[in-house]
């Protein structure tokens, strides 16, 4: 069985967020989508984002929802196939109402990373790393 992760994020406007995540390349899985939650597939069979209304979120936890524009608890980073793909995804995020580069661009030559934030302020980093350049025994700079 493939290993799967579901990143659950609270969102204020489900339809708007669904459209945003589709714009940046995720695909909706209607089988696990209703008017309180939307399953967005980032990589089939492995990486999924579950967008949850605040009301749905509150059924899972009594923890409050921080304003992700103001504070953060997580930086989510996904890999991309090329530098151009990194830029392309950030461009798509901006076109869809997101904000570009909430974190500093990282350019180390063999590794290139940028970021965007979704409409609720959740930060996504997009990173390309030259697979041939990963040093065999050396600690590389963290892929954050």
């Amino acid at each position: 069985m493939p290993q799967m992760i579901f990143v659950n994020l609270p969102v204020t406007d489900l339809e708007k967020s669904k459209a945003f995540y589709e714009a940046v390349g995720a695909t909706n899985n209607p089988a696990f989508t209703d008017d309180t939650a939307a399953c967005m597939v980032v990589a089939e069979g492995s990486i999924h984002v579950m967008l949850l209304t605040h009301a749905k979120w509150a059924t899972f936890t009594s923890k409050t929802i921080p304003d992700a524009h103001q504070a953060a608890q997580v930086l989510l980073c996904v890999s991309a196939d090329s530098r151009d793909a990194v830029d392309g995804q950030v461009d798509k995020a901006v076109a869809a109402g997101g904000k570009a580069d909430p974190t500093p661009t990282q350019d180390y030559g063999f590794m290139y990373g940028r970021s965007f934030e979704d409409p609720d302020g959740h930060i996504w980093e997009v990173m390309w790393m030259d697979p041939t350049a990963i040093p065999a025994g050396e600690p590389a700079e963290a892929a954050a």
Binding site: M1, Q3, F6, S46, M50, F60, Q70, A71, Q73, L75
Partner: protein, 146 residues
């Protein structure tokens, strides 16, 4: 390059790197020494799923947003496991390793079973099992799911 499967790195700020490394090892992650130093530790779940635990100082080099209070939760991270027993084992390992088990009521819908845990810094993880037939779309989601 296009054959490279998409990977996710979940970056989490932690107060005590060694404590968190031990916690994540206890619940089933494996350390990747090539991406580990004294400010950041890579923990491997699978070939495509990684957790990067970062000291607060390291975290600050990526974002100037303050770390949200642990009484609040920006994200909850759910991992699909192979059986209900594996879910229980992860929850129990978490409790023994400095985390907290069952911060929310366990969810048992028959075809789906999940328990929510906290890591030592209050980050929420939700190990769960789902009947593969339902997960693959071969069987409908039972009515009780709603």
């Amino acid at each position: 390059m296009s054959d490279t499967p998409k990977m996710i790195f979940v970056n989490l700020p932690v107060a005590d790197l060694a404590r968190s490394m031990a916690f994540y090892e206890a619940i089933g992650f494996t350390n990747e020494p090539r991406f580990t130093d004294d400010i950041a530790v890579a923990m491997v779940w699978s070939e495509t799923i990684f957790v990067m635990i970062l000291t607060h100082d390291k975290w600050k080099s990526f974002t100037d947003r303050p770390i949200a209070d642990r009484g609040s939760s920006e994200v909850s991270l759910a991992l699909a496991l192979g059986s209900k027993e594996a879910v229980d084992a992860m929850a129990e390992a978490a409790a023994k390793a400095g985390g907290t088990a069952d911060i929310n009521p366990a969810q048992d819908h028959g075809f789906m079973y999940g328990r929510d845990i906290l890591d030592p810094d209050g980050h929420v993880w939700g190990p769960f099992w789902m009947d593969p037939a339902v997960a693959n779309g071969e069987a409908p989601i039972p009515e009780t799911a709603a």
